[in-house]
Symmetry: C2
């Protein structure tokens, strides 16, 4: 992440009141779309006056940024915490793909808002989010490279397979749940098998 943690925490709003406002914002953004939502409506959904939101979030965009930051930080944390660098690359890929897919399935509402409204962020805020996204991709890329180096993977193109793995994970938030897949663990197990095939895992 490029932003110092103190700045991130301040943007995020650490109080319980701020967390309630973010949760309400996600619901209203998801239902109506960011562009059609007003801060007033978000406040009203909590029986608050618009003035009660202002001390926490001065603008609708700062609220979107706080929600995006929280969502992206959580997805990155899920992947990072699942990755144990002393395990084999095959085990590491399985653990991180599982964490990433499960996160997007469990948090599909917030993930959908965050993914689809990225372009509504200010340039400065967008840059912070892009840094977190790159850090997440980098976790997968390092594992694929480690698998190559260890002779466990026979990748055709490290960049393309990293893109495909992250894209599959992100896109879960668009369609989840479906008739065929409504259990995050079942889906994650299938996607681990497909990811291992994509990297040409030999074990």
């Amino acid at each position: 992440m490029s932003a110092p943690l103190s700045a991130v925490a301040s943007e995020l709003g650490t109080s319980k009141a701020a967390a309630r406002i973010r949760a309400a914002a996600i619901e209203v953004f998801a239902a109506k779309g960011y562009g059609a939502t007003t801060t007033r409506e978000i406040a009203a959904s909590l029986d608050l006056s618009p003035g009660a939101v202002y001390p926490h979030y001065k603008t609708k965009e700062s609220l979107l940024f706080a929600v995006s930051l929280e969502g992206h930080d959580a997805a990155l944390a899920a992947v990072t915490q699942a990755d144990r660098p002393t395990d084999s690359p095959t085990e590491r890929l399985a653990a991180t793909v599982t964490a990433y897919v499960r996160w997007h399935a469990h948090n599909h509402a917030v993930a959908r808002v965050v993914q689809h409204e990225l372009r509504s962020l200010s340039r400065e805020h967008f840059t912070v989010i892009v840094d977190i996204r790159r850090a997440t991709s980098r976790v997968f890329m390092r594992i694929v490279e480690a698998g190559e180096a260890a002779g466990e993977f026979r990748t055709i193109d490290v960049e393309a397979v990293t893109l495909a793995i992250t894209s599959l994970g992100v896109d879960v938030s668009r369609w989840f749940p479906s008739n065929a897949y409504s259990d995050p663990d079942v889906l994650a197990a299938r996607y681990v098998e497909l990811a291992l095939r994509m990297v040409g895992a030999t074990t």
Copy 2:
């Protein structure tokens, strides 16, 4: 498709004027989001009065449906036309994945609108679109099954791999172009390799 073709053509609007309105709608929906857009703004972007849109599209939702129908029909047509059932399953998968990825890269603006605003369609219109989406998935599923039957593929789970292939294609419209991938043909070639690995192609 469940709707008779005549009904579809009438919803779509076959005149040049209707086509111009759909193109304008895609731009405004993409820029502001469907929820924040008014039919008045779409008309204004063409220097038309709202009354000039009305004979073609009575409501904003009917305009979204026409755009969705056109986009989904075109994506299905791209895949269907690329599929030559006399070719080997490996060749067929390569040709259809190429067509699907290229379509979503070339048409990322319309695809993004259509994918993200599906939930804004009426139930009746949503059902029509879901049928087209299922027909598209079915093309890939039939090819995977043919590959299994011919002994060319060793799939773990036909449903999961079909989901992954369509998901990768659809998600192209979210992120395309990126720094690494801005040529639809290069991207399609990479995704064909990954798709063949996912189905366990032996050739």
